[in-house]
Structure formats: C-alpha cells, structure tokens
C-alpha cells in the first residue's frame, strides 16, 4: 500500500471517512461539469492519506475550479485570480506540517498566475496542485485560455484563436518540475491514484486534470479521453511497466535514435521487451518531457504519473537553515540583537 513513513506532515491514527471532509455548502458547479468528479476523488483520497483532518489546507485562486475550497471541509482560502501558488507557498513555509493543496484553472495558473506557477515549481515547495484544464475560462463565460487549441472558436475568438497553446507538462518540465501527472476527469481511479502519489511526493506536485466544461468547451478533451477513441489515444503509464496502449495492449513506445516512436508489438520483429519501461523516478527529465509532449494524431497522449523525481524541497531547506542559525548564532532573542555590535552607555 501507500508508504507515507517519511512525511513531514503530522500523522494521525484516527480513521477518517468521506464525511469528515464534506462541507455544508451547496456545490454550485453546473450539472455535468467535470469538477464534480474531481471533488469526489479528493473526498476519497483525503481520509485515506492518514493526516489529521485539521492539517489539510486547500487554497485556490479565482475561477469555477477555484470554488473548490468551499466544497471541502478543511482549512482553506479562496484567494485572488492567479495568486494561489503564492498564497500556498506562504501557508506551507509558515507551517510545513500542513498538507497544502491547491485548486486552480488553466487561466488562473497559466495566464494571470503564470509567473507564480513556474516559480513555485522551480522552488519545489511541497504543495499539491490540482490544475483543472478545461481549455477555457469558465467563470467568465467562455473566453479562450492559454491551453485552448489553436484555431478554436470561443467568445473572444470568433474567427478562431491565433495563438499557440501551452502544453502543461512541457511548462512544468521547463520550470524544473519534480512531479507531473495527467489524468482525465472521467476516470476516478486514475485521479485518486495520482492524488495519492502527489501526496507522497515531497515537492511541488502538478496534476493536470483534463476537465470538461460542459457549458463553454464541451467535449474539448473527447478526441483523447472519449470512450470510443481512448484505447488508441491514451497511454497510461505505470512506474516499472512497459509503456503500452491499444485495445489489446499491442502498441507501445520505443526509442529510435533520439525520438519516441509508436511500435506495434508482434510486427517488424518488435516484442514486449523492446518497449520502453516507464521510470517516473528518474531525475533526468529527458524522457518525461518527451512523454508529456506526445499527442494525437501521431501519438497517444500520456496519462498517469509521468514524473516523480526526488529533489530537496524549498520548505525543508528553509527549515534546515533556520535550525542551523538557531544552533549557531549568538543572537538568541531580540534583546541580544538590540545589544549586538557597537553600543555604548551614556
């Protein structure tokens, strides 16, 4: 099962249930919105992580997705647009024993909050980020976002967008991310697995959730995660397992020269042994970056925990510096400080 032995967050032996995290607030997302499933996944995961319920903190920015804190019974802040990562950083640094989670949207974290997003990742602050990627601005009713595919018609792009979208995983790797998972909102098992892994990971965990906005960008992800196509368009990676996909698991990724290729097992002499094995814990992001960028039509899109590499976290390093300073400095209190250096009596 999950191993949380070396976590800094305070643990509890009290058995918690879903009810411990249900809030008394009416959930106001549109019926059919993908966000409901994400909430359901969180309610399954939180009681099982094994933390005291008072140690969870849920922080968000602004957007439909950012209403999340009102719907889970934890300590929480519904912040301002784009700034959730900065608020979360302050929470975690102020008390590293908290389990800090962040709910945010593609606009919130990749447009107005892009700066904070890349910097929290670069610093590797130990927080878990649920990025609801619905490829649209939901709350403001349907303007294109930094992940909207090029050419898409939205309220502010009546002739189609003329800008290149971000690939979230690529941005995460570029910012030296240590954890990246991509999950669909229609598979609660995959979501909860990724959330457990994110909770286990020391450092900034990014979970890109392909979320459906039924009102303003309905079926935006269906070309990839739709029931009819997903066997050929989704490759779900598992650490230590060959990266195969297809209805009969008869396709897989191989490395030819410096590029990934799709190979059919049993054809051209390819066997299962030729298929690349997924190593999420590899510190080198090279293959992880390639995996994160793959997309139909030539490739499947990769789902699951793509990267989970161990690096020191900002919060641990800060605590170490504080500890060292406390042990070594002659200045133990403010009176010491006031009387340090050049002083004289009059």
């Amino acid at each position: 099962m999950q191993d949380f032995a070396n976590m800094t967050v305070e643990r509890s032996n009290v058995q918690l249930t879903k009810a411990d995290f249900e809030s008394d607030q009416m959930v106001k997302w549109c019926p059919g919105c993908g966000a409901h499933a994400i909430l359901a996944a969180v309610e399954r995961v939180f009681p099982k992580i094994g933390y005291r319920k008072e140690n969870f903190c849920m922080i968000s920015g602004i957007g439909c997705s950012s209403r999340f804190p009102y719907y889970v019974n934890t300590y929480g802040i519904h912040g301002i647009h784009g700034r959730a990562a900065a608020i979360s950083t302050g929470v975690k640094l102020a008390n590293p024993r908290l389990s800090v989670w962040m709910a945010t949207g593609d606009g919130d974290s990749l447009a107005i909050g892009g700066n904070h997003f890349i910097h929290v990742i670069r610093r590797n602050v130990d927080i878990n980020i649920l990025l609801f990627n619905n490829q649209i601005y939901g709350l403001t009713k349907g303007q294109y976002s930094p992940t909207t595919p090029m050419g898409k018609v939205t309220k502010t792009s009546p002739q189609g967008t003329i800008e290149h979208p971000f690939t979230v995983g690529e941005l995460v790797m570029g910012a030296q991310g240590t954890f990246f998972a991509r999950v669909p909102d229609n598979n609660i098992g995959m979501m909860t697995d990724a959330m457990f892994e994110a909770a286990k990971h020391d450092g900034t965990s990014i979970m890109e959730i392909m979320q459906n906005c039924i009102i303003f960008a309905d079926k935006a992800h269906n070309d990839v995660i739709g029931k009819e196509v997903k066997d050929d368009t989704m490759l779900v990676v598992k650490n230590g397992q060959p990266m195969v996909f297809g209805k009969n698991s008869d396709k897989g990724l191989i490395l030819r020269d410096t590029r990934l290729e799709v190979a059919e097992i049993g054809k051209n002499g390819i066997t299962l042994d030729d298929i690349l094995i997924h190593d999420a814990y590899n510190q080198d992001p090279g293959i992880h970056l390639m995996l994160a960028k793959l997309a139909p039509p030539l490739f499947p899109m990769v789902f699951g925990v793509i990267r989970a590499a161990m690096f020191p976290t900002y919060d641990d390093l800060l605590e170490e510096q504080l500890k060292y300073a406390k042990e070594t400095s002659a200045i133990k209190n403010v009176d010491d400080l006031l009387n340090s250096g050049d002083t004289w009596e009059i």
Binding site: I77, H78, I80, R83, A86, I87, H119, K332, T343, I346
Partner: protein, 616 residues
C-alpha cells in the same frame, strides 16, 4: 595629545559632509567620524548620499558619493540643511556640494586630485583652486595623496593601497580640527582588519600622520568643540530607519509569540529591510524573496492565515502591485504589516529620493470600500517603535496595517536608545481556542470588532475564508445586499475603533495661538526645528506632528480648534491636508508643499510660517 593650547569655539551643533568619488571610501570615513562623535556623547543624525548608478564614471558629478552628519550638544532632529565642514576628495564632489556649504564653511581639499583632466571632467573651466570659487570659505588645501604616500614610504606599501588610504589622512585632519581622540579609531582598525594586520598598521599611521600634519600647518587656529549632549541615560547605538523597521518587526514577533514571516521583493529604498531580516533566521524569521511584489504579499497572506506575524516590505511601485492583495487581506480580516518606504513618484520616479506622495495610495488606493490602518514613522530611530506598533495594531485588530516610512528615514541614521523587550507593550492577538464550539469566522470582540484568529492545524476550527463577501458572523459566501452593507460598515468601524487604542495627538507648544503647523511622517526633524526656532523668537506657533494617520487620534478635531490659521507641510502636493479637510471641513487650512525629492529646509519653512503670521 595637543601640544599647543588652542582657543576653543564652542558650537551647539555642526554639520560635516564627506564627499568624494565612489571609490574614495566616504561612507566609511563618515561612519568612523560619527562613531567617535557618538562615543563622546554627541547626539547625531547621518545620511548617506549615494550616486544612483552602481559604477558611475570616475571623477564625474554622477559618481559622487557623500555622507552627511549632524552632531550636537543638544537633541539633533535633522541631518542639517547646510554644511559647516566639507571634506571634498575630488573636483566633481566639490562641484556637486559647494552649494550646500555655509558661507565661511571650512573646506578640506585634496589638491592632488585637482589635475587638469579631473577638473575638466567635473565641469569646471578653471580649477577652483585657481580662481575665486573658494574665496568666501576657509579652504584647507592639502596634497593629501602625496602626503599619504609619503607617510607610508618606509613601510613598503604599494601605490594603490597607499592612495586608497588617503581618506584616513583626511579623517586625521578632521580629528585635529575637532580635537578628537584617535584611540577609538585605532581600536576599530584592529577589529575590522583582524585578519590583515598590515592594514591595521597602515591605517593607524595614515590617520596619525593626518592629525600631525594638521597640527603642523595649524589647519584651524581654534578647536571646534561640540560638547556632550544631555541625553537620557541608557545604552545607545546607531541605527538606520530600515534596520530599525526590521528590528521593530522582529520585536513584535517575539512579544506576540507569532513567528515572523516576510514575503518581499527587492526595491529601492526598501530592500535593506528584506536584507536585514534575511540575517535573522536565528530568531525564527522566515524570509521569502518572492518572484514579484504580488507573490510577496500573497505569500504573506498565506502565512498570516497560518498564524505568522506576516509582513511585506516595498516602495511605491511595489505598493501599486500589491493593492489587489491588500483587498484580500482586508476582506479576510487577516493581520498583515505592509511597509512602504516611500520614494519619489509616479512610476519609477526618483528611486533614491524621498517623498510623502504615497499617502493617498495607502489610504485609498484599492478597489471597493477597503479601509486599512495607516501609521507613519517620523525618525530613523522611531521606525523601530512604529513598526512594532503597526504589528501590534494589525495583530490585535485583525486588520492589515500600512506603515509609511521614506527613503530619507530608511537610509538615514540616528542614535537609538536601546529599549528592553520587557518594557515593550504587550501584544495579544485574538487567538481562537481549539474546539471552541462557538467559534465562527466572523464573530467579533465587541471592543475592537476584531474577529478571532483560528489557524490551520488547530483542532475543531476548520473554516474557509476568501475574497468573496462573507455572511456576517458565520462566514459563508453571501451576496445578500444588506449583509454586504453590514460587513462594509463593520470593516470601517473596526478601523475607526483603533482610535480607542492609540495615544491622543500631542501639541508641541501652546494649545491655542496664531498658527498651528501640521506635519506627518518623515518630515518631523525639519518641521520641529523650524517651529522651535520661531517659538524661541516668541512667535505664537505650535506643532502637531502626526504618526497615526488612519484612524486619526481621537482628539484631532479639538487640536485643530485652537488656532487662527493651520498650515499643513508635506513633501507632496497636499495629500494629508485634503484628508484632514475631508474629515474636518474648516476654512483656515493652508498648505506648504514641496515635491523635489528633497527634504524641507528649515528656512523655507520659517519663511512660509512668518508669511502666514503676517498675512491678514
């Protein structure tokens, strides 16, 4: 040490300015001179005058670095308008500073630096040593570079090191003029250059030789004596406003038991607070240099929610970036100290100069009805106290507080009577009790209207807050019109209630009279000095200098009543005067404003006051 008895001229206060090229070590020289003045018991104030560029071209006016100090046998309030003694190490520094010298001032020059090229680079047509430029001054023209090299010639010192020590030669001359003991400086060299004993020797020799040289040439026929000031007994140190601000925040953290968190982004002239606090992890200060000002304040809001004494420090442009987040702290009713070390604006403006032009921004610069507490420090030293009070008010009233200081206070230094932590006022934040069955996020203490602080990790108090309006008491999201009215009124009333917890406004002078001078924040020194001067002349003038801006002290209306005329002096176009007029619509407000990035001069203030007294 003096062999010949020189006549003594007793002076109540003297202003000395050290100027030279960036590389001439003027900050160090001025600092050492000030330390000795402090040791003999003078009160003093100092101000460094750095060039804006890091490495300006050598020997140009743009590259002049200066250090001004004002010492006295009575309380010193400013760094002085005009200079009694000017030490100028090159032509450019003379060019840039002669206008600040008093008539008859003593001017000490290194004649070796006045070669043709440097004279020309400074913008002089003819060397000021050769024409009548210095006629009305007492100029001591010494070949200091040559003499320094000469004093070191038996020690095998290379030319460069020798040249670099000439500032100590100048300092030696000054010590002779002021009849100061050299021993403290010797001791200083011994600690500063512990690891380089050769430098201890070099500096000692040069300092002594400068002193001896001055004695030989009888640099000044009399000694300028500034007797010890009558200062309150106690332990003293020198402190800049920025360091005092940092320490005040640390003191408040210790007293309140709430760990300090600073989320900040570097900006002149506030960066020193960030740098200073970075040094004090041993006191538990968590300092986070964020990616921008917005992240600085937002990380602080997160830390505040989590139970820290959270602060963010900045200057005008940074405060602009923080405004949306200040609104979040206002509506979530979290404690947060926002320090704005004001500089000249708008936009990048005059980054290294001082102004008071962010008052409107502090009071009103946010969307919505968004009141915060505003406090202003008025001396480098009391930045400590007002940073402490800003934190105390913010914590106890669960309201963001803006502390206004300015570049002049931040960089300037004064003597600081070291307080004892046990004497500092208690700070009692309204912490919520674990498992309190009655806890509600917006239940308030009727006396302060402050809500309780329930921090993550505490059992039985899980709750959510945020930028959306919340229902009174229970704290769930509410769009109810009447509730919004109630919450808006409560947030405003909570800030107004702070007036019950701050001291009444004091008046320096009679509570009634012809003219009430009003000032606030960093202008205290010059305005106080001007008013004092006029009071000594028997004029009916009083001063009310404000530190508590929002809310104003409760007796403010009464203070304004007793005078025929009121003049509000500020380094902006009239922001405080308009704020006062808004609160106290009275016909007799006048104003005196200056927006030049420079402090008030005492005589321009007295001129204006006299004019108002004379006008019918």
């Amino acid at each position: 040490m003096t062999k010949k008895k020189r006549p003594v001229i007793e002076r109540e206060s003297v202003v000395v300015k050290f100027v030279g090229d960036s590389g001439d070590g003027m900050q160090l020289t001025g600092g050492m001179f000030s330390d000795v003045a402090a040791l003999v018991g003078n009160d003093l104030a100092t101000f460094p005058d750095f060039p804006a560029e890091i490495r300006a071209p050598q020997n140009t006016v743009a590259g002049v670095s200066g250090f001004q100090m004002h010492m006295g046998s009575s309380k010193i309030y400013t760094t002085g308008d005009l200079v009694d003694v000017l030490v100028a190490m090159n032509p450019a520094s003379l060019k840039a500073n002669l206008k600040w010298a008093k008539k008859g001032a003593t001017i000490l020059l290194d004649t070796d630096a006045f070669d043709e090229k440097s004279v020309e680079k400074a913008g002089y047509k003819v060397s000021p040593l050769d024409d009548d430029t210095l006629e009305t001054y007492h100029a001591i023209k010494s070949p200091m570079t040559m003499l320094t090299k000469e004093s070191l010639k038996d020690m095998g010192v290379d030319n460069k090191t020798a040249e670099r020590s000439k500032n100590m030669f100048a300092l030696g001359i000054l010590f002779y003029i002021f009849n100061r003991d050299l021993k403290p400086s010797f001791k200083y060299f011994e600690t500063k250059f512990k690891k380089k004993p050769e430098l201890v020797e070099i500096n000692k020799v040069v300092l002594q030789q400068g002193y001896n040289y001055a004695e030989t040439i009888e640099a000044l026929e009399s000694v300028i004596q500034v007797s010890p000031a009558h200062m309150e007994k106690g332990r003293y140190r020198n402190i800049t406003g920025n360091v005092a601000t940092a320490w005040g925040l640390l003191a408040a953290a210790e007293k309140s038991g709430r760990p300090l968190f600073l989320g900040s982004y570097p900006i002149t002239p506030a960066t020193e607070i960030l740098m200073e606090l970075s040094k004090h992890k041993s006191l538990g200060a968590k300092v986070f240099q964020a990616e921008d000002e917005i992240a600085g304040i937002c990380s602080s809001i997160g830390a505040s929610f989590t139970g820290s004494l959270a602060c963010t420090t900045t200057s005008g442009p940074g405060l602009s970036l923080k405004s949306e987040a200040i609104g979040l702290a206002v509506i979530t009713e979290l404690p947060l100290v926002i320090v704005n070390v004001q500089r000249g604006g708008p936009s990048t403006g005059l980054p290294t100069k001082s102004e008071q032009s962010d008052l409107y921004q502090a009071l009103f610069g946010r969307n919505g009805e968004c009141p915060v507490i505003v406090v202003a420090a008025s001396t480098a030293e009391n930045c400590f106290y007002f940073a402490y009070m800003a934190a105390k008010l913010s914590l106890e009233h669960m309201t963001p507080t803006i502390l206004l200081t300015d570049g002049y206070l931040g960089f300037g230094s004064t003597l600081f009577r070291i307080p004892k932590m046990k004497d500092m006022p208690a700070i009692n934040p309204p912490m919520a009790e674990a498992n309190d069955p009655d806890y509600k996020p917006y239940r308030r203490n009727p006396e302060t209207l402050a809500r309780q602080w329930a921090i993550p990790g505490t059992e039985g108090l899980r709750h959510r807050i945020g930028g959306l309006e919340k229902e009174n008491i229970i704290g769930t999201v509410s769009t109810d019109p009447m509730n919004h009215q109630i919450m808006t009124d409560l947030r405003a009333a909570k800030v107004e209630k702070v007036a019950d917890f701050i001291p009444e406004q004091e008046i320096e002078g009679a509570p009634e009279g012809d003219l009430l001078v009003i000032s606030w924040g960093g202008t205290y020194g010059s305005v106080h000095s001007a008013v004092k001067q006029m009071q000594n002349e028997g004029k009916s003038v009083s001063l009310a200098h404000f530190n508590y801006i929002m809310p104003l002290p409760k007796n403010t209306g009464k203070v304004l009543q007793g005078f025929k005329k009121i003049v509000v002096c500020e380094l902006n176009s009239g922001q405080f005067v308009n704020y006062l007029k808004m609160k106290f619509p009275m016909p007799n407000f006048h104003q005196f404003n200056k927006v030049q990035g420079l402090p008030f001069m005492i005589n321009e203030l007295t001129d204006r006051f006299n004019q108002l007294l004379e006008e019918k």
